[in-house]
Each structure stands twice: as C-alpha cells, then as structure tokens.
C-alpha cells in the first residue's frame, strides 16, 4: 500500500506542475483536446470547450501575433518601463507574456512574434516572445 501510494503520488503530478516542469526544461507546451480537437491555454484538468478529461499537452508552432499591449511605467531606478502583452498563438489560444528585444514603442498589436522559454536566475521557466522576423504574416 505504502509503496503503491508513493508511486502514484510521484507519477500523478498535477497539470500545473507538469507544465511548469516542461517550461523549466525549456519546453513550451499548450493543450489540445482529444475529444473536440480545440487548443487550450492555460493548461487545465479538463477541456473548457467540451468538458472532456485532461487534454493532451502538445508543442505549439510557437508563432503568433500581439493581440493587446501595454507599457507599464516604472521609475528608472526601479528598472524602468516594461512591456506586458497578450499574444494570440496561431493555434488560436492567447496568453499573457512580454515581447523582448525591441523598443517598447515598436511592440504593436498585430506584430508577428515567436515564443521562446527563458528561465530567470533562481526563477521558473516562462514563455516570452521576440519579433518573428522573416515569418509570413
């Protein structure tokens, strides 16, 4: 009993923990529902479209477009202004993120972007975006 419950606990890690573990290893995954075939993000234990059990985690193409954007103003001594945006992936799901590597004023709605995973020092893996230069719009 003790052994099997220990084993099942070790393998039955939740959706959030497994998704984060993948991010920590540098992999960005979304979900796709086996029942209704729709993409899901953020990952969860059931499909919010049809109610089916846990959708499978799959790798997205990683490309999308900025759907909404704001520049959060912050004093220079506190780190300065930064970008927060919502990106719509080509799979049709959206997520909050930020666009890096370009002037804040150039991060505009419709900008084509490509995902990458960063792991901040001492932090957890997270998805950020950069301009998808060369991608077809």
């Amino acid at each position: 009993m003790t052994n099997s419950s220990t084993t099942s606990q070790a393998t039955a890690t939740g959706v959030l923990a497994r998704h984060q573990a993948e991010l920590d290893a540098g992999r960005f995954l979304i979900q796709r529902c086996g029942a209704c075939q729709r993409a899901v993000y953020f990952p969860r234990a059931l499909c919010p479209h049809c109610g089916a059990g846990e959708p499978a985690m799959v790798a997205p193409a990683g490309t999308g477009a900025v759907y909404a954007v704001t520049t959060v103003r912050r004093k220079p001594e506190a780190g300065g202004d930064y970008n927060v945006c919502i990106v719509e992936l080509d799979e049709g799901v959206r997520l909050m993120s930020r666009v890096e590597g370009m002037p804040l004023a150039d991060v505009r709605i419709g900008l084509r972007v490509r995902a990458r995973v960063v792991v901040p020092p001492g932090g957890s893996g997270m998805v950020v975006f950069g301009a998808a230069t060369g991608d077809a719009a």
């Binding site: 759907y67 520049t71 103003r73 927060v84 919502i86 957890s124 997270m126």
Partner: protein, 391 residues
Amino acid sequence: MTTLKQLRGSAAIAGVATYGCGEAPGHTDMELLAEAARRAVADAGLAMKDIDGLCTASASATMWAMPVIEYLGLRPSYIDSTMLGGSSFIAHLLPAMQALASGQCNAVLVCYGSAQRTATFGRKEVVASRRFLDPQPYETPYEPMQPLSAYALAASRHMHEFGTTRRDLAEVAVAARAWARLNPEAFMRGPLSIDDVLGARMVCDPLSVRDSCLVTDGAGAFVLVRADHARDLPREPVHVLGTGTAVWNRQISSMHDLTMTAARDSGRAAFGMAGLAPRDIDVVQLYDAFTINVLLFLEDLGFCAKGEGGAFVRDGAIAPGGRLPVNTNGGGLSCVHPGMYGIFALIEAVRQLRGEGGERQVAGAVTALAHGNGGTLSSQATAVLGLAQAL
C-alpha cells in the same frame, strides 16, 4: 415557481446610506460598514432588529458575513456573501428578491465598508497575500500592475479595433469630474480638462493616472424589502425592475474578446426582466474603475453599438447637460472608490430617483441603471431601477 418576470418590481430599496467616503483615518472596515448600515436602516424607517437578511462581501476576509452578523447583532434567516469583486452588491439583488418573495426573510441589509486608503495594511500587503491565496500563475510572472494593466490591455485593443482615442477616454474622466464638482460628497472636485487628462502621468499605456479610479475609504449600505412593505415605509420606494449577473472569465488573458464584457449578458438579463430598453433609462451609473470601462459598458449594455463608445461620449455627451447623464456622483474616477465601487453606483441611482441629487439632480428621473464590475473585467452585474410609475 416564481418567474423572473413575476419578480419584476417585487422588491424595493427602502433605505440607503454612505459613510466615511474619501478619508476616514483611524477607522476599520467594519466600523465604516456598521455606520453606513445603521444609517441605511434608519433611512428605511426600520430598526436593526427588523433586519433578517444580510448580504455583504469583503476583498480580504473570506468569511466576512460572520463577523458582520456578530458586529451588528443580527440573527438573519437569509445570508449571502457571494464575492464577485466590485459587482457583488448588485449581484446580491436577485437572490435577495427571491428570498423576500418566498418569505424566507422580510428586510435585507446589503452593506460594504473599506478603509483601504488610510489602513496600515495596504494594497501592497493585499497583493502579496493574494499571490499565495488566490494565485494567477499564468499572468503574475509577467508582472502586470493589476488591475490597471488588464484594463490598459483592453483599452489598447478597443483603440486598435475601433479607432478609439485617448481623447475619447479623457472625455469620460472629464465628465465624471464635472459631475463630482456638483457633489459635496465627491473626493476630487477640482477642475479637470481634456488636456489635463492627456497630459497626466502615464501608468499603463494608454491609461494615465487620470484614467484611473480613486483609492478612497468609504462605506455604503442599502435595505431591500418587498414592494408592499416599502409602500408603508417613509421613503419613496425604488423598485428593482430587473437585474442580472454574468461571469465569463477571471483573468484578462482568458477573455474571449477584450472589447466585449459579460455585461452583454447581465444587461440583457436585467433589461429582459424589466421589460425596458436602454432608451427608457433616465440616468446611468456605471462602474468606472478606469475610463475604458464606461465605453465598454455603454456598448455592452446597449446604449450604443459595439465600437461606438468613443463617439458616444464625445463633446460632453455624458457630462452635466449632455444627452445621457452617466455617473452623476462623479463615479469611481472622482467621487469614491474604496476597492469595490458597485454599491455606490446603486446608491447614487437610488438618490437620483428619489430626487436627492441636489445640484447634480437629473430632473424627473423615473428609471435608472446601475452596473457593477468586478475583478479585471471579470464579473458583471446590472440593475434596472424605477419609481412606482415605472412599474
């Protein structure tokens, strides 16, 4: 079975009060709530012992109804502490009407108080606690300055899709201030121009500090009774003709369309129950946490078409003397905003219908709409109110 149509006008607001609006240093949330409650019950011509229903919610205490009941010395047979953020106290209306109609209770007190402006336990601590108690692990890592960033994202999308401008947003803040200047209770009453708003410090583009609500203390309370009971009480009854609540999402990144809120559903439900349309409404109170809210809610509630909110508010159209009086107390932008504003929108609607608006009174108002919003464009609750001649 009682249908919603049968509930139309079955209950009326018999008493209202606000207390401690602006700054109330040295007070607790509970003290402000209790004084507003005491005054609302007295305004209704009732005694606290007549109150046998209680609706309340708190942004910090998860079991808030219990200490409120204890503090006020109540023994309620009906209790609702559903917490939907700032829309809560309008969302409390429909279940309370059902409880009154069934005879479960006879007089429902709806109350809220917050000392968030002057409290030593400030917003920073609240935000830090929520990271553990109510996590949003798919947004928090990007450090959105919430709730402001969420509304800024919605504003950015509205501007992109419909050509809405910062000047359109500024119209909302300027109209709110113009109303506030006529309201002795309003916290900010200095002159404010479009250029002042456009030139104000940016916080989350495209929203500036003047596109953002106040952070004040304040408490509000109202008493709901059956309509026949209300007719025997001293105040002119303000009937609840229709009301509805809707939630589609919690996180801004989960919104299906950043330019359309669940107010579309809550408004449809409220107007449907009331048998009225936006053109029938004399005075409108919208939860203006940020200027973009007013545009979104004017559209989603049907006062104008989707995307036309900017054009609708131009040239002082919702300011004193404009075509539609909106947020006649000065709103959350200029009057009061102690964390959850919805109850103040409802109270101002009642005051206008009772003709107690003083300098800001909308002449001959018979119907009013009050709309609450909670979270980051997450929960929406609408109430259509009217005097006896609207029944």
